[in-house]
């Protein structure tokens, strides 16, 4: 992305900044335990929990920073934080 004078830009350019790269631990669903309560989607500070058509959710790893709030709050312990290995 080219920069502009004074950094003025079109709205939405934060999408190009893929903050998923900051992650140390990544959240992984255990769909056998998930009860589709949506708490993870509600509490995610980065809108990185995306709804699926079947009512379950999936993570948007481009923007998930691995903060672990979802795993901490999940009432069924259906989210595991796994060490990111690249």
């Amino acid at each position: 992305m080219k920069i502009t004078t004074g950094g003025v830009c079109e709205p939405g350019t934060s999408l190009t900044n893929k903050t998923g790269g900051w992650r140390t631990f990544k959240p992984v669903y255990d769909y056998d335990k998930c009860i589709k309560c949506k708490l993870c989607e509600l509490l995610c500070p980065d809108m990185a929990v995306l709804p699926r058509e079947d009512g379950y959710f999936q993570f948007d790893y481009d923007y998930c920073k691995g903060c672990g709030i979802c795993a901490n709050e999940c009432p069924k312990a259906a989210i595991n934080m796994v060490l990111e290995e690249k």
Binding site: I3, T4, T5, G6, G7, V8, C9, E10, P11, T13, S14, N17
Partner: protein, 404 residues
């Protein structure tokens, strides 16, 4: 000051320096003014609010605020919507703006602000020196220093022209000495509205904050981008070097008055000793030079109008034949024992062939009177440096040892 033809005496009126500046701001047709009163700046904003109350500035909003921090912050928003913005402050007020100064420059907003130079607390002191503005050296504002009332007024129009140039787009501080210029009455030519309109076209912002076409201002730049923003600010400063000269030349063509571009020279042609200074002290130095020239002392003056961008090339050229250079600073970098202008002039010579001795004098702190006798002493010490080398590189001037 150089004038084209004769000074237009019939156009001159005796006004206070603050009025001359307020009037200059008025004819520049600002859209938003926001300022907080502080001595010795108050008369400027008082004058402007009076103009607005009297309906003399059309299409202009005066925003009352509770602090200098808010004054400049209000202008950040105003500049973003495309307004021509003005403020004025001094001393503690300027220091309170410190954080916002960086934002204005980083967001490339061509705001013009008069800094009526005053000492900083503690101890409390309302009189003139340059510590306030010099302490904001690295905030990315262009800093111009005026010698007299006429220059302070004329420089205001030049400042808008420089700031709003699309190759610059940087904010400008017009620095004028507190009381010595702000509160003195002197004959000046007030800027003519028609000429100023011709000199200063309507501001055309690159981008404006508009709900119909949303844009993000003041965005984040991560480590992959931040360096390039700093680089572009530096480039804009370099572009300003030429634009400051252009603005002064164009002003001369149109209004017939000229005070130098980045710098101005007085009797430097054959001078062995060259003094370097900024602001109103320049007048006292010129008088002293006139006196000593009659006695055959080859002394001249280099007046620095632009402290930022720093005109290194112009300075090197001006002092290339001098045998000694004495720099007078109304500020000090505590712990270095040097004034800023002295440090920077020394530094710009280091990688050159010119080994001229440079000595520094810190002078006039907190409004201490600078007399011709003090300047004469400095010149006679400079003569000693010329004959026998530097004994003291940088020193305080007129310290009252008896009260220590």
């Amino acid at each position: 000051m150089v004038t084209k033809g004769k000074l237009e005496m019939e156009k001159m009126v005796v006004v206070e320096g603050s009025y001359a500046v307020a009037h200059a701001v008025k004819v520049c047709r600002p859209n938003v003014i926001s300022a907080y009163p502080i001595t010795p700046q108050t008369h400027i904003v008082e004058g402007l609010s009076q103009f607005i109350a009297d309906g003399e500035i059309q299409n202009c909003e005066y925003i009352n605020v509770e602090s200098e921090f808010s004054a400049l912050s209000a202008l950040v928003g105003s500049s973003a919507v495309g307004a021509r913005c003005y403020s004025a402050t001094t001393s503690q007020g300027l220091e309170l703006m410190h954080e916002v100064l960086f934002n204005v420059s980083g967001m490339r907003m061509p705001i013009v602000m008069t800094v009526v130079n005053r000492a900083v607390s503690a101890p409390i002191n309302i009189w003139n020196d340059h510590q306030d503005a010099i302490s904001q050296r690295d905030t990315g504002w262009i800093q111009l220093y005026a010698e007299d009332l006429q220059e302070a007024a004329d420089m205001t129009a030049q400042a808008f022209k420089i700031a709003e140039d699309e190759e610059v787009l940087m904010p400008v501080m017009v620095c004028m000495d507190g009381f010595i210029l702000s509160h003195v009455y002197e004959p000046v030519v007030l800027l003519e509205q028609e000429l100023t309109d011709e000199y200063l076209p309507t501001y055309k912002p690159l981008n404006i904050l508009d709900p119909k076409k949303p844009m993000s201002f003041g965005t984040l730049a991560d480590p992959n981008y931040y360096t390039e923003f700093r680089y572009l600010q530096q480039k804009a400063m370099e572009n300003a070097l030429k634009k400051i000269e252009d603005a002064a030349n164009e002003f001369y063509d149109m209004f017939g008055r000229y005070y130098g571009g980045l710098t101005d020279k007085y009797q430097t042609g054959d001078a062995d000793i060259i003094l370097v200074a900024m602001g109103s002290i320049v007048g006292t130095i010129k008088d002293t030079i006139d006196k000593l020239r009659q006695k055959g002392v080859k002394v001249g003056l280099l007046k620095v109008r632009s402290f930022r961008p720093f005109p290194a090339e112009a300075i090197k050229e001006a002092i290339k034949d001098a045998k000694v250079v004495a720099v007078l600073d109304k500020n000090i970098s505590l712990g270095l024992n040097e004034g800023a202008l002295f440090t920077e002039i020394k530094s710009c010579l280091y990688n050159t062939e010119n080994r001229v001795p440079v000595v520094g004098y810190m002078i006039g702190h907190g409004g201490r009177d600078i007399r011709m006798s003090t300047i004469e002493n400095i010149i006679s010490e400079a003569q000693e440096v010329m004959e026998s080398g530097i004994r003291k590189e940088s020193q305080f001037t007129d310290v009252r040892e008896e009260i220590l």
